[in-house]
Symmetry: C2
Subunit: 400 residues, 2 copies
């Protein structure tokens, strides 16, 4: 599993002392090559944390050697001093690893508006560098957790083809591994998260960038737990080429998408306080953007999400949310819309359908909402969670 599954990567996770809880809070992922390809996508929030400003530049030339990630502080809204802290972190990692600071991606997560404890952080970098290993993926995934209750990791293996080249003896041709964190402020663009993907495939920087953008657009961008967009979202793909297997754009996109889809689903499953994961699928839209817009309107309805928490298949709240989407964004007739919840079509033609009492939401964590607009052939799914007492508690009792 995780970021060290592909050949050519080492990782570590240590306790630098940034978290008052004393839990692990600093992770380092190193790409030992032979290639050092990188691609990155970042939050679309206009208020961006210092590490995002820094890392956008780092990935710009398609080359990176390492990613350093800390929890226990977002280093967002910290001004020029905060940017200086990020710069210094990258320089220190560069010195310790013997690489250029300009090839070090920096990610931070935690409370906005507070400076990082730099002596602790730099000490953590030293400790992490000393602990680097090909089995360090699990520790790295643990060190980036904030309100996450479990680590999120993924492994996508591609078997040898009939005539496949290989660098391994186990029938595996190449691998995509990954880790992510994120449990709140989970909304696009990009679900609020830090995510590092690694692969030992031989790929170009252009293909890596295209694959990552295509993959996140239909996976991590379609997780909307609480409608709140973060200042720190970063998804990075590192490619070492260590398998010796050249992989084309299509193959790479497919594998990276599978990895991102798994991580996205894991994020939803661990969202703050949630008792239900809700997949809102919109069908019959005129185009995919329209389907996404309608699905997003439903996933952002506090009333609908609270109803799901109460195991109430309240399709009226679904329809009320669907109706808020402007006609120029998603053409449809309100009296044509069907809504099915867990397979029961509780709303047909914009009115009462099958008996809502046939829907048993208490039986499972996963809830499937299917909206058919009957206006076209496009569809899309957006994932969210229910709105619960525990969500309110976690986000009112603690500053994050």
């Amino acid at each position: 599993m995780s970021v060290t599954a592909p050949l050519g990567f080492r990782a570590a996770g240590v306790t630098a002392g940034l978290k008052s809880s004393g839990r692990p809070d600093l992770a380092l992922v190193v790409n030992d090559g032979p290639d050092h390809v990188v691609a990155g996508v970042f939050t679309s929030n206009r208020v961006v944390a210092a590490p995002v400003v820094w890392s956008r530049t780092v990935v710009g030339d398609g080359v990176a050697r390492a990613v350093v990630l800390n929890s226990g502080g977002a280093n967002a809204c910290t001004g020029p001093e905060g940017f200086g802290d990020t710069h210094r972190t990258a320089e220190h990692v560069g010195e310790v690893l013997g690489v250029s600071a300009g090839d070090v991606v920096v990610c931070s997560t935690g409370l906005i508006g507070e400076r990082l404890d730099m002596p602790a952080l730099l000490g953590g970098v030293d400790a992490a560098a000393a602990a680097l290993g090909a089995d360090g993926g699990e520790a790295a995934a643990t060190a980036i957790m904030t309100t996450d209750t479990v680590t999120k990791q993924v492994l996508v293996q591609r078997p040898l083809g009939p005539a496949g080249a290989t660098s391994t003896d186990d029938g595996i041709s190449w691998i995509v591994g990954g880790m992510a964190k994120g449990a709140g402020m989970l909304a696009p663009g990009l679900a609020t998260m830090l995510c590092v993907l690694t692969t030992d495939a031989v790929v170009t920087a252009e293909d890596a960038d295209a694959a990552l953008r295509a993959a996140t657009a239909v996976t991590l961008d379609r997780v909307d737990s609480d409608g709140c967009m973060s200042t720190n979202d970063t998804v990075v793909l590192l490619a070492s080429g260590a398998s010796g297997v050249p992989v084309g754009a299509e193959e790479l996109t497919e594998a990276v998408t599978a990895a991102c889809a798994s991580l996205a689903r894991q994020l939803v499953a661990d969202a703050e306080g949630a008792t239900h994961d809700i997949a809102v699928t919109v069908r019959g839209a005129t185009n995919e953007d329209a389907a996404v817009a309608v699905a997003r309107a439903v996933t952002r309805s506090n009333l609908f999400k609270a109803a799901v928490f109460g195991n109430d298949p309240n399709w009226g709240r679904v329809l009320a949310a669907v109706g808020t989407v402007p006609a120029d964004v998603a053409p449809f007739e309100a009296d044509a819309v069907d809504v099915a919840i867990n397979g029961v079509t509780v709303c047909r033609g914009g009115g009462v359908g099958e008996d809502r009492s046939r829907v048993d939401l208490a039986a499972a964590r996963e809830v499937r909402v299917e909206v058919d607009l009957h206006a076209g052939a496009a569809e899309a799914t957006v994932w969210t969670n229910d709105l619960t007492h525990d969500y309110v508690h976690e986000n009112s009792a603690y500053s994050t």
Copy 2:
């Protein structure tokens, strides 16, 4: 107070039996003239309840005689049968009052997707007609409540000018009265509500329409308790002309705006489960629309609203919400933004400002958030509430 304060109006509120609680659930407001001017604004949701479809037509010619309102059922998403129920309600009111059904505005509120108990409702109309009186405003305001805990009523009096014409002996020239309901699904366009305003001023239908649109745009449209838009929102202004005082567009707009502002504030103060009312004022915007867009982004941040519930002046969550507004909608530089909470500038220039511990949110129900974009001279205020355990409870434990 209320809708019967101006001359020329009678009202009643009775128990028709639509609510399982046995509480009053049917209100009737009658304009006895001599004028029968009406203006109305309605939800911008594309999924609209039958009474909205009906009432849009009724107000189209600027003439209405009465408004009948029921709680205990929204008559939304009920198909052609539901529209038939609304039509029949208007016809019955018309018969009982001796007016045309086409001059009867119908409003409904309650659960979406269920048919109304028409025998009960029509019996309620008979009882309300029999109970009509110039002192019936309070009873009418009570009968339209759903999850409201108190009635919302308003009275705006305009004194006699030095040479003012008058129809009363108390120094009052003309009056705007009003009532409203709404505690959840409180978001524009229009805060989810039913609202009836009355005036005894002599006004044209054109001036009434213009005044109502201008007034709601800056008051009821700027309440956003939970980001959820209803299917039934209706605001109606009835003018009887009974004061004999001709009132111009400007004067009327001013008084109607004052009445709507009061009702909007009352709605926020009674929002489901709220412990804080939050006024988000955005200054320094390039134009008013930009200011509203930024304010709305903050008022829709579940994370910020949960923080306020926890009495945590979490300006990072404010800034994260501000940053989600696209640059073409609201031009500003992220590192120029100031945020003050209850007068303490906790964020200055996009970074740390005064000590957040100086903000005491526990001291009062009202919280003032001021965002200065430093990009222009326009400003706007949007009201919301905190996100609380009780909001989740009210909207998960009961179908509404």
